[in-house]
């Protein structure tokens, strides 16, 4: 979706502000939110793409004025309600009132935590051969799906070069909507900075994205 989360190339947000000796968490509740997201994800309540989509659906003015973990919290709560794990009445009451819904992988136990600290595997067997080779010129499609996509706006319509082939991976656009993994070839595609930002762009800049095959057309 063309949401405010798709920030590449936007102006006006000001300076980057590094924080010396930044703590891992600034508030205790942030750590609880992170842990709940990880635990419910490991239990199979949602996949990572669905959770990203719920954060992207936070209205722009709320998104921009909420801290990072506040966005995680808002996305988590809404997602769990919409997926039927809780009800709005329960949230309002602050207590369980309805029977639980079964979790695909079961509750995450303390002893299984370490196992879940390693990232999941997203590579899948290829359903077809790759359409593009390293060095091919490709154009990022001018598409504007209203649902989740990982093709940022700033490259759409622009021509780049395929630099790496990462194999076939779970396709976020399908997984986010719970339409299955629909594996697709994944490439690193590199763009010239001036192709993206015009003549005033930094001539020394190259920008790459990792693009799934359905995002790309051949270019001459």
């Amino acid at each position: 979706m063309n949401g405010v989360h798709d920030m590449g190339g936007m102006d006006g947000f000001g300076k980057v502000e590094p924080e010396p000796n930044e703590p891992v968490f600034h508030e205790e509740w942030e750590s609880r939110v992170l842990a709940m997201v990880r635990a419910m994800g490991a239990a199979g309540a949602f996949n990572i793409d669905t959770s990203r989509f719920y954060r992207e659906m936070i209205p722009p003015h709320v998104y921009l004025s909420s801290s990072y973990y506040k966005k995680w919290f808002l996305g988590l709560e809404e997602m769990l309600i919409e997926k039927g794990y809780l009800t709005r009445e329960e949230v309002a009451a602050g207590h369980a009132m309805q029977p639980a819904k079964a979790l695909k992988n079961g509750k995450l136990k303390r002893d299984d935590v370490e196992r879940t600290m390693v990232r999941g595997k997203f590579a899948r067997p290829a359903p077809a051969s790759a359409k593009f080779n390293i060095g091919d010129r490709v154009r990022a499609k001018n598409i504007h799906p209203a649902t989740h996509t990982r093709l940022p706006r700033y490259v759409r319509g622009h021509v780049g070069v395929v630099e790496l082939n990462h194999g076939c991976h779970v396709f976020p656009d399908s997984a986010a909507m719970e339409l299955g993994e629909n594996p697709q070839w994944l490439y690193t595609v590199v763009f010239e900075g001036r192709d993206l930002w015009g003549e005033d762009g930094d001539p020394t800049l190259k920008v790459s994205i990792d693009a799934f095959e359905p995002y790309l057309d051949p270019a001459s």
Binding site: G9, M10, H26, A35, R52, S65, A100
Partner: protein, 218 residues
């Protein structure tokens, strides 16, 4: 979706632009606690498991993992070659570094090219190598500007690059993760891996900084 989000925005309007507004934070805190209570009561989460997750992020996982990988690459050419070919596989051979998932790509800084990593869409970051990302990495100024004006972003870190060096920005738009292999500082000939690891900063592995110089305060 609308109900809750609408309630949120209403709440927010009352507290507009108050830095660290206490009432908003405590309201959030109450909501987070309520959610954990519900999830626990429904049997979805085990609070001890949540504690263990938090502990892992606070203690075990951090930039010290990435620093050891970088230091090893600086001293062992065969490892460096393997690391650049397949980051996940090469790191997997190091018993002393935390386990790493698939799809880690290590990109090397050279005198001709400086690499920088961003996630414009959210906050993708090599957690296992660097820990949880800092706030600035996840915030709008970095995410918006890194792909358009990386030299301007680097200036915010007091980092200046030679005028004609290529800047390559890697936008982490999939489940691949990128780790920058910075250049080894001069004046470190004969140093051990352990000594070298002390020079490797988190930001040098994101591409928004350089390793410390020998003798600089850590």
């Amino acid at each position: 979706m609308r109900l809750i989000f609408a309630a949120m925005s209403h709440d927010h309007d009352h507290h507009h632009h108050h830095d660290h507004d206490h009432s908003e934070l405590s309201e959030t805190e109450l909501r987070v606690r309520a959610l954990e209570t519900i999830l626990t009561e429904k049997g979805y989460v085990e609070p001890a498991a949540l504690d263990a997750i938090i502990q892992a992020y606070e203690i075990k996982i951090g930039p010290h993992n990435g620093a050891r990988v970088v230091a090893k690459a600086w001293t062992d050419p065969a490892f460096k070659k393997a690391l650049l070919e397949d980051g996940s596989k090469a790191i997997g051979t190091l018993g002393h570094v935390s386990r790493v998932g698939d799809h880690l790509v290590v990109v090397e800084n050279t005198p001709a090219r400086h690499n920088m990593v961003v996630c414009t869409l959210c906050s993708c970051y090599p957690w296992e190598m660097l820990g949880l990302p800092p706030v600035w990495y996840k915030a709008a100024p970095y995410r918006s500007r890194a792909v358009k004006d990386p030299r301007g972003v680097l200036a915010d870190f007091d980092v200046t690059l030679p005028k004609d060096i290529e800047i390559r920005v890697w936008d982490s738009t999939a489940e691949t993760r990128f780790l920058v292999l910075p250049m080894r500082p001069e004046g470190t000939e004969g140093w051990s891996e352990e000594q070298l690891a002390e020079l490797v900063t988190r930001d040098s592995m994101i591409g928004t900084g350089f390793p410390r110089k020998p003798g600089a305060p850590s």
